[in-house]
Symmetry: C2
Subunit: 221 residues, 2 copies
DNA sequence: TCAAAAGTGTTCAGACTACACCCATGA
DNA sequence: TCATGGGTGTAGTCTGAACACTTTTGA
């Protein structure tokens, strides 16, 4: 099992980035290269339990707001030595939680990845593609955002995860209409430059939910 | 590995049904119940190759127009005896190809499944949900339809796979606008009841392709 | 009073559904 | 010429992108 764990970093600054959790290999093969966290499955646990257990060594498990299966990588020669099959997972950690990391482990921006071990590079790319797609038709943003947030913050989070800037106006309307976000009624304090105080929102659910199931060919009625 | 292989049966009649390929277990455990085709992975093949090899015993491999990974089922107690992990696949066979089947193997309508072995029932349900979703945002219909077809036939195929009737008019326009289907220029002969001859179409590609990537939050421009 | 940030209003285009209407064929 | 099945026209709704404009704050 291998997990691609994402978090949006630097939410308060103006240039947030989508980061992925990697650890640096101390031993051959691929010494010095960066790898996804993971490990072997035990006989008494299922895959999801196993991934959560493996990640507990890297990040606080309670901070993983969403975890789902991605693809299985099974090419016979994908790693040297005994034949190994990798079942990959997508994990999401909300901002701004910054759990303590072991010394060999770091967050890396997905737009500037270090040399990656084995076939872990394509796995990160696959995971991001899946995240991008799900941002547009599910409420999966709940797993990246703080509990309460201003719309401009959410705009930056979506922008980092999608890889392009989105309009806060339309984000509010799309997510509002679908019932994905709810206003809390409270407002944030403006920064030192002034500006109108921002209304705060939260995600309505903290479980993934498909909000826009059919692009076309939806059932009649 | 286990494969959920679908085909739409009775395309020429007026009530086509979505069928799944099952074989009946002759031995305990679960003797007499119906199971998905599959088998064990060899050390020198990847999962896709393995699934194709396993299915060759059941259906002609050339008839599998599409094959993709689904989920991994890994609960420790999902089958009795030694712990087994099932990686499931979705396979699609075009109509009206009707390959010869071994005596223990049959097509069963998904709406009227026999008693299923182990956890294979939920696997079929999961596969159909994925198929339904992909019909609306990809060109995956190519793997269920004949090479050339009238729109009313395609309407029945989509209806069987989706579980509800669709409008042939709008199907034509949606798939036409997206470039999924192309008119061949030829027409079919009317049946004995008369009626205007139907124009024939074919799918433009025979490889899966996402046609409607973003439900919302698409990139600017 | 001005700049900055947030929020609202408005317009526009595209996609999809539903349904009425027209066309071509066999008996 | 009529029943049958196929195809086209069209209206109407909904969604979302873009962008101008207004509101609320700190300095």
């Amino acid at each position: 099992m291998l997990a691609v764990v994402f978090q949006v970093g630097d939410v308060t600054s103006r240039k947030p980035a989508l980061n992925v959790l990697l650890w640096q290999r101390a031993l051959d093969p691929e010494r010095g290269k960066w790898a996804l966290p993971g490990g072997r499955l035990r006989d008494d646990e299922d895959l999801t339990t196993s991934v959560r257990r493996q990640l507990a060594e890297k990040v606080d498990v309670r901070e993983i707001a969403h975890l789902e299966q991605l693809a299985v990588f099974s090419e016979p020669g994908r790693v040297p030595g005994v034949r190994t099959i990798a079942s990959t997972f997508l994990g999401l950690v909300p901002s701004p939680a910054t759990p303590e990391l072991p010394p060999d482990t770091r967050w890396h921006p997905v737009n500037d990845l270090p040399p990656m071990a084995f076939d872990h590079g394509p796995m990160v790319a696959y995971a991001q593609a899946r995240l991008v797609a799900k941002l547009s038709y599910t409420n999966i943003g709940f797993a990246l955002a703080p509990r309460e947030f201003a719309l401009s913050t959410l705009r930056d989070i979506y922008g980092a995860a999608l890889g392009y800037q989105v309009d806060a106006t339309n984000l509010q309307r799309v997510l509002g209409r679908r019932g994905v976000i709810t206003p809390t009624g409270t407002t944030a304090h403006p920064g030192r430059n002034g500006g109108r105080p921002a209304a705060l929102y939260r995600f309505t659910d903290s479980q993934i939910r498909v909000t826009d199931e059919f692009a076309a060919l939806r059932p009649p009625g």
